[in-house]
Subunit: 141 residues, 2 copies
C-alpha cells in the first residue's frame, strides 16, 4: 500500500479551506514552479489544465491562501504581486532586470538581524523582504 507523502487537499483542509478544483490546482502549480508566480500565470495554468476560472476568483484565492499563511506575497518592482509557497526555508531572490530570470539565494543573516531588531528596537518583525535586483551572469555581456 502507498502512503501519501503529500496531498494538497489535506493541506487546504488543515486550514479550514474547502478543496475546490481551482485551489488544488493552484497548490500543485505552486509546488512545481521554481519562481514566484503572478496572477496571470496562475490563470494561464488553470486554463491550460481545463479549469475555467475568473481573475477575481484567483485574486481571492491568493488573498485567502496568504491570510492562511500557506503562500507569501512578494514584489519585484513590476507593478504587480507574485506569490510563492511559504513552507520553504528562508531564502531570497536575485532578479535579473534584463531577462527576468529569478534565482534563489539562501542566507542565514536575517534571523539574527530580526532578533537584534526585536531586542534593540522593540519592533516585532512578522515578515521581511530581501531581494536583489541587477544583472544575471549571462546578461552582463
Amino acid at each position: 500500500m502507498s502512503i501519501k507523502i503529500h496531498d494538497c487537499k489535506d493541506e487546504l483542509r488543515e486550514v479550514d479551506l474547502r478543496a475546490t478544483p481551482a485551489r488544488v490546482a493552484v497548490m500543485s502549480f505552486l509546488e512545481k514552479t521554481e519562481k514566484p508566480v503572478d496572477v496571470n500565470s496562475v490563470i494561464d495554468y488553470l486554463n491550460t489544465n481545463g479549469i475555467k476560472t475568473n481573475p477575481a476568483t484567483v485574486f481571492r484565492m491568493m488573498n485567502t491562501l496568504t491570510q492562511k499563511g500557506i503562500i507569501m506575497p512578494i514584489q519585484f518592482y513590476e507593478g504587480k504581486t507574485r506569490y510563492e509557497l511559504s513552507n520553504k526555508d528562508d531564502h531570497h531572490h536575485l532578479v535579473c532586470e534584463n531577462c527576468g530570470k529569478i534565482e534563489d539565494i539562501s542566507d542565514g543573516i536575517i534571523p539574527n538581524l530580526e532578533k537584534e531588531i526585536r531586542a534593540k528596537r522593540k519592533f516585532k518583525v512578522l515578515r521581511h523582504s530581501l531581494e536583489f535586483l541587477g544583472l544575471c551572469k549571462t546578461c552582463q555581456h
Copy 2:
C-alpha cells in the same frame, strides 16, 4: 557673504533637468520628510503650497527623478510605490502594519552580502530591497 550649502535647482540642473517650480518643490518635500512618500502625498504637498499640478505630471516627475538616480522607489506591499532621496546612507525600514509608522534602520551587512553574491553567483547587484514588516513598539499591546 553666504555660501549655499545646498540648492535644489543646482541639484536638478546637474542631471540635465530643468528646475521647474513643481520639481523644486518635490525635491524640498523629499528633503524635509522622514519617511518615503507616495504620489498622493506629493500632490497634496504641492497643492498645499500653491502649486497646481496634475497626477500624470507627478508620476512623470517621479519616474524621471528615478531614472536620474536622484530618488529611489520603494514598496511596502501597499499596492503603490513610495519614493525617497537616494543620497542617504544605506538603510532599511521597519514598517508597522498596524499604524503605518516607518522607522529607519541602518546596517552594514548588505554591502558584504552583495560582494559575496557577485563573487559566488556572478550576479551583478544594482539595487536591493530590505524591509521588515511587523508591529512597532506601541502596537504590540
